[in-house]
């Protein structure tokens, strides 16, 4: 189904239409935003969205205040991005900067979930979960508290400035600013201990970064949710452009069922319903739309699939005693087939859905495997390459290795480092006290330590220029999933036994 969006005659948008500036000559250099006054919808989708809004705002504002028990010295905040010390704490996990690939994996998972959801159910993210949608909804709620619903707001906009208008507009902006400040304020708590930062923030002793981030987030929240609103989605966000590649004819999207609604015409009580569609052209769907569009033009870039037009239309359908669902989640394919007199078919399982699901499962599996492999201890071995080997005075061959031991647990640990694979007669580790079989190295909690390990092999024991060798480190942690760490390396000589 190809829908031509008729923007020239598609009137009735948000009201408050004005001719483009620049007189009659062309469109002018810029376009003024058309004010949109969405009417409050009542119904199951509106109730669902209120619920989701409360949950998501609670998650955003509340998360930094959740405490989580950790050993002494570590922060007790459940979710904390600690830039100063290079740690990311998330409940039972604490990630180090070199584990940033877990973030990458999480982003890949998020992207695939988004693709899958979009291919299946349209722009779920835009309509229900995007911060821009949630905060705009919250700001609209405040706007209605102060200025009333659509008609009252439009009257107020046209009215001259008087005490009433100043009070209503001023009150609205004050509450908006308060919400914006709370949003900016909550943001900075993710980066420092929330109670401590809150106290120092109030006392004026927090860092410049904290105040700057607070001011920036306050400003963007206020502007994006208060005044820019739908323009963010239409002009700034890349996702509306990308999502066109995700949806197809079988995607379930918020759809005007034109097979049932057309031909539309106004309807008076008592008029017959034969020979016409169910749409009575009441504009209820249009005035409820926060994007200021007409869903009856079909799937369009501006539509965020917020489903409020479904509620608005259902209210009217109940009033005129017709079945609800003139606007609902439906696919282009089903609508087209019904309008051709065929039986609608739905195909929830399609190649792209299967592909996205498989890709998602693969990445999730890889992430889980990676997490299970994760250990707080690491062993890295770098063999000296300059010189490749050293011939000692008695003709024996010595190789040098830099052994890096990482202890990311909350206790100091001792690693027993051993060398295997080559017939080593002597191990040396300056500053430590190695014996024939290995050396014990203690590493403080949250530290890494580099030790030099020099292995000597008598010349008459060498058979080849390259002898595969293994450096192993056993951690004295009884709870470690993998207490034995190994690193493969080489013992190098000129190969000639003397």
């Amino acid at each position: 189904m190809t829908v031509v969006i008729d923007r020239v005659s598609g009137g009735g948008g948000g009201g408050g239409e004005s001719p483009p500036p620049g007189g009659g000559h062309g469109p002018g250099l810029y376009q003024k935003r058309k004010a949109i006054y969405p009417k409050l919808a009542h119904g199951s989708f509106r109730r669902l969205k209120w619920g989701l809004m409360v949950v998501m705002l609670a998650i955003y504002y509340g998360t930094p205040w959740i405490r989580w028990p950790r050993p002494a010295g570590a922060p007790s905040q459940a979710v904390l991005i600690d830039f100063a010390h290079g740690r990311f704490y998330f409940f039972m996990f604490d990630l180090w900067p070199d584990e940033v690939y877990f973030f990458t994996g999480l982003l890949v998972v998020a992207a695939l979930v988004l693709f899958l959801a979009t291919a299946w159910l349209g722009r779920l993210w835009c309509g229900y979960a995007c911060p821009q949608t949630v905060w705009t909804d919250l700001f609209l709620y405040v706007e209605r508290l102060f200025e009333g619903d659509r008609n009252a707001r439009m009257r107020l906009a046209k009215a001259g400035w008087g005490p009433d208008k100043v009070l209503r507009k001023g009150g609205k902006h004050l509450v908006w600013l308060a919400i914006a400040a709370a949003t900016g304020g909550a943001w900075i708590f993710y980066f420092e201990d929330a109670p401590t930062l809150f106290a120092s923030f109030i006392a004026g002793e927090a860092s410049v970064t904290a105040y700057f981030s607070f001011a920036l987030l306050t400003f963007t929240t206020y502007v994006l949710a208060g005044t820019l609103r739908e323009q963010v989605c239409i002009y700034m966000c890349p996702w509306p452009r990308i999502q066109g590649a995700m949806v197809d004819r079988h995607s379930l999207q918020v759809t005007y069922r034109h097979d049932r609604g057309e031909p539309r015409s106004p309807h008076r009580k008592g008029d017959p319903w034969t020979g016409r569609g169910d749409c009575i052209d009441c504009q209820a769907c249009v005035v409820a739309c926060p994007m200021g569009i007409d869903i009856r033009h079909g799937s369009q870039l501006e539509c965020i699939n917020c489903a409020l037009c479904i509620d608005a239309c259902d209210e009217i359908m109940v009033k005129v005693e017709r079945p609800t669902g003139l606007i609902g989640y439906d696919s282009d394919e089903a609508v087209t087939r019904r309008s051709q007199g065929l039986k609608a078919i739905y195909r929830p399982i399609r190649p792209r859905i299967v592909f996205y699901a498989l890709a998602l499962a693969a990445v999730c599996g890889l992430m889980t495997w990676g997490f299970l492999q994760r250990t707080p201890y690491q062993l890295h071995v770098a063999r000296d390459r300059n010189p490749l080997f050293v011939r000692l005075s008695d003709g024996s061959i010595r190789n040098s290795y830099s052994v890096k031991l990482v202890n990311r647990s909350y206790q100091p640990r001792t690693f027993r480092v051993t060398f295997a694979g080559a017939p080593v007669s002597r191990l040396q580790s300056p500053g430590l006290d190695p014996d024939r079989s290995g050396v014990s190295v203690t590493v403080a909690s949250g530290e890494q330590r580099s030790v030099r390990l020099l292995a000597t092999v008598p010349a008459d024991r060498l058979t080849a220029a390259l002898t595969p060798a293994t450096i192993a480190a056993r951690v004295d942690d009884p709870d470690a999933a993998t207490p034995l760490l190994t690193a493969r390396t080489m013992f190098v000589s000129d190969g000639a036994a003397r």
Partner: protein
């Protein structure tokens, strides 16, 4: 303007540009975009005033804030030096042994030592410290002047034959060039040295050279040729050769009596820097410093006078 083409679907005028049948609509900019653009222009003007922006004939406009990355870097380097100073104090106060045995001090000394070694020592001893012909290998267990921490510190501080009053000092005579030995005697001695290093040598030459070695060489190298670190005389019985192990190299060494020069670093490096590079060299050489038992110097001074050989006729 009025005769411009108007797109049928959107009702918007086209710009008149056309590529392969695709025409560009002359849509107006959103006002918020225009506002952002004006803000950017304003910010740019403020930037010109506050920051370096415009070139002039012999420089640039410095801006009211006098911001300069060059100055910032210089300040950062100063801060770094101050920070190193703190660690440097620890390096100065702690003994070499303490530095090597304390993990964070060893790590600091190794890092700083590596940089110092790369800048000052690598040209002769190589980036890895493995040396070369005439330049000592610092990674093995052979030490001409001793491999203990204090020995290495002494060598680095005062150098070898550097002119420093406390420098390591010794001079191998040019036995052949100066006519101290006859050419045949030098050739026989070469065979004797080859014999000392456990290789096949002509028995006749070895027998002829034995008394010459005892008279001329044993003073420094010891009666068994095992060297003496007090005078930097190398062990002739091991497999390590500063100037090469083949007969030609050994012959040349006896003939010319070469001895390298290492500068004294006392004036060029601070005491803490010398300590850092000392620990770096010591750790990389295995950190024992005690040469293998076989290479320990034997008491040779009992029956020979050390001063007699260099001064011998």
């Amino acid at each position: 303007m009025s005769d411009r083409e108007r797109d049928k679907h959107s009702g918007v005028e086209t710009t008149g540009h056309e590529w392969d049948g695709i025409k560009e609509l002359d849509n107006p900019l959103p006002r918020w975009w225009l506002i952002v653009w004006y803000i950017c222009i304003a910010v740019a003007i403020v930037y010109w005033v506050l920051f370096p922006a415009w070139p002039t004939l012999n420089g640039y406009t410095p801006g009211l804030l006098h911001q300069s990355d060059r100055v910032n870097v210089a300040n950062d380097m100063k801060a770094l030096a101050a920070q190193r100073g703190v660690e440097g104090v620890m390096l100065e106060k702690a003994s070499l042994d303490e530095i090597e045995k304390t993990p964070n001090l060893q790590a600091f000394a190794m890092a700083e030592g590596q940089a110092i070694f790369g800048n000052n020592c690598a040209p002769c001893h190589g980036a890895g410290g493995a040396g070369g012909k005439g330049y000592a290998n610092l990674r093995d267990d052979v030490w001409l002047w001793g491999g203990q921490l204090a020995d290495i510190q002494q060598t680095i501080t005062h150098g070898i034959r550097s002119g420093d009053p406390e420098a390591r000092m010794s001079m191998m005579p040019s036995f052949g060039r100066d006519g101290l030995l006859k050419p045949q005697e030098v050739t026989d001695l070469t065979e004797y040295v080859v014999f000392l290093s456990h290789r096949a040598a002509s028995p006749g030459a070895v027998a002829r050279a034995a008394p010459i070695f005892a008279a001329q060489c044993a003073a420094c190298h010891g009666p068994e040729g095992k060297g003496n670190q007090l005078v930097g005389a190398p062990n002739l019985t091991d497999s390590d050769w500063l100037y090469g192990s083949d007969r030609k190299s050994i012959h040349d060494q006896i003939w010319f009596g070469r001895g390298g020069v290492m500068p004294a670093w006392a004036g060029r490096l601070s005491a803490a820097e010398i300590k850092a590079v000392t620990v770096y060299v010591h750790v990389n050489s295995g950190g024992s410093g005690a040469p293998a038992p076989a290479a320990a110097p034997t008491v040779a001074s009992a029956d020979t006078n050390p001063a007699s050989a260099p001064a011998g006729q």
